[in-house]
Amino acid sequence: MSAADPTIAPASAAANAPSGRHAFGRGLRPWLLLLPVLLFVIGLFVLPLLGILRLSVVGPNGLTLEAYADFFSDPFYLRVLGRTLITALIVTFFCLLLGYPIAYVAARYAGTLGTALLLIVTMSFWTSFLARTYAWMVILGSQGLVANVARVFGWEPPQMLFTGLAANIGMIHILLPFMVLSLFAVMQRIDPNLLRASTGLGATPFQTFRRVFLPLSVPGMINGCALVYIVCLGFYVTPELLGGPKDQMIARLIGSQIEQLLDWQEAATMAAVLLVVTLTIFAVYDYFFGLDRLWRS
């Protein structure tokens, strides 16, 4: 059905057909096409998700918000939550700081340099982040690159691996391509004639950048930051492998709950909190900019 069906409609309905969409569109036909995906997503994604949310509010004596009360009254959990939010902020900030020059040069100077930079960024985007996490273990380990270089200069480095710093560096490295690609998508569309016009009106290169390019690239910055921040909030693998035991983020806490099967309700509550925080950011973004813009990058 799904294969042959769509062609029935384009005659009448195509998005770019001159006369617009057809009255058939209000019938059953779109829903027939949507049925598989709706069944699939609702049955195998939404349902499991609701299952875990339900778990967080059902106690031995029916519905209860006890788990949430526990969560928000326990300073340990609050510290973890706060650390998660702040860590994500730090990582996002550094991604923006490091990502902007790359995206800027790639967008402004097409040619060998721009192409090479883009190639590097796309390659790291697609390279397994486990591979990259592993690389940082090699660099920061006690027998690793940095330590051995330091020893050459007769300096014994402190422990770097399994610290919050290592986790942050790893996350920045892994999320940087997201940021660069978001920025680049927007910068690429900035009309170079605007910059020429600005120079023609007497602006110095820095003024042109500051007054024309930078404001026009703000949408890319917003997209990139939103993306990086959201991914970072729920990041599990890299902090788990690079980070130390003291500075856990909420995702690691959930992970260790699953591994040790300690308390379903507790784990579900933490998951619910993380979910709400994430969705709140999405909602804020949607309110100001519309979610569709985020997907485009």
């Binding site: 294969a3 042959a4 069906d5 769509p6 998005a15 770019n16 969409r21 058939f24 036909r29 779109p30 829903w31 027939l32 096409l33 949507l34 598989p36 995906v37 709706l38 997503v41 195998l44 994604f45 939404v46 499991p48 998700l49 299952g51 875990i52 490091l98 790359i102 040069v105 100077y109 340099l113 930079l117 190639l119 590097i120 960024v121 390659m123 790291s124 390279t127 397994s128 486990l130 591979a131 592993y134 690389a135 090699v138 380990g141 690793g144 690159l145 490295h173 110095t204 909030l233 729920g234 599990y236 693998v237 788990e240 492998l241 959930i254 699953i258 591994e259 579900a268 994430t278 997907w295």
Partner: protein, 272 residues
């Protein structure tokens, strides 16, 4: 002139150093893969290809690799099959609740993986699908739904629907129009969407980590365990191989784009 040169020099230098920061760790892994002994020593004491031999001959690595291919292939096929009709529905029709349905389809992209790992751990535990390939395939197929949907929607948006009318005006009915016009023209983009779904699954670590178990262990899960528990140099081998595939594909694409540009340029000349 000099000031313009200088002003472009600073960002260029910055961008290059940051590019080095991105690239260096990946190159390091390549070196490590030929190293001998414990994996976390750099530079390695000696160079061998032992780790490559271990990777390609041990069941402990080959089985997860194979699992990953099977799971990624199956979940990509499912996602493509389930999601493509929906992309057509969005391209062709206006219907009530369109925004809501779209939000629903995009959901898997908005929920943190770790949350879904917990959710599937519980859900599949009840269905007795924990530690099975089926469970991982289902989970990965769900995750890829929004990605495939976005790609397919973009494809269909750029598809020239007047071709469908042109085909009908030539006398082709719905089936033959789909068979001779839509399918050949959309096939490459279907493949791209499928490839993205494949990679999404192949690369996914968090959910696979918790629900695949030993029986259906995927390659990322195996890598994760090996990084966390042992100092196993094979991880570097796998990382290098993955990196090599990505680099090869990226370079081929960049090269073909250049070639395509010059080819279309000569074509323009011929036309005149």
């Amino acid at each position: 002139m000099t000031s313009r040169l200088q002003s472009s020099l600073i960002p260029k230098f910055l961008a290059l150093s940051i590019g080095g920061f991105l690239l260096l760790p990946m190159l390091l892994v390549v070196v490590m893969s030929f190293g001998e002994g414990t994996s976390l020593r750099f530079p390695p004491r000696a160079f061998t290809i032992d780790s490559y031999i271990v990777y390609f001959t041990s069941a402990g690595w080959m089985v997860p690799t194979l699992n990953s291919f099977i799971i990624a292939g199956a979940s990509a096929a499912i996602t493509l099959l389930v999601t493509t009709p929906a992309a057509f529905a969005f391209a062709l029709f206006d219907f009530p609740g369109k925004r809501l349905v779209r939000l629903l389809i995009m959901m898997p992209l908005m929920v943190p993986f770790i949350v879904m790992a917990l959710a599937y751990f519980f859900f599949f535990g009840q269905l007795r699908l924990l530690n099975t390939m089926v469970g991982v395939v289902i989970a990965h197929a769900c995750l890829a739904v929004p990605i495939v949907f976005l790609i397919q929607s973009a494809n269909l948006k750029s598809f020239d629907w007047t071709l469908v009318r042109a085909s009908q005006a030539c006398g082709a009915g719905h089936f033959r129009t789909f068979r001779y016009i839509c399918l050949p023209l959309l096939r490459p983009s279907f493949l791209v969407a499928g490839l993205f779904a494949f990679i999404t699954s192949f690369d996914e670590t968090v959910i696979a980590l918790f629900i695949s178990g030993r029986a259906a262990s995927t390659l990322p899960r195996r890598m994760f365990e090996s990084v966390r528990q042992e100092s196993d140099p094979v991880v570097a081998v796998v990382s290098t191989l993955l990196f090599a595939v990505v680099a090869a594909v990226a370079i081929v694409i960049a090269w073909r784009r250049e070639a395509g540009r010059s080819r279309s340029a000569t074509r323009d000349l011929e036309r005149e």
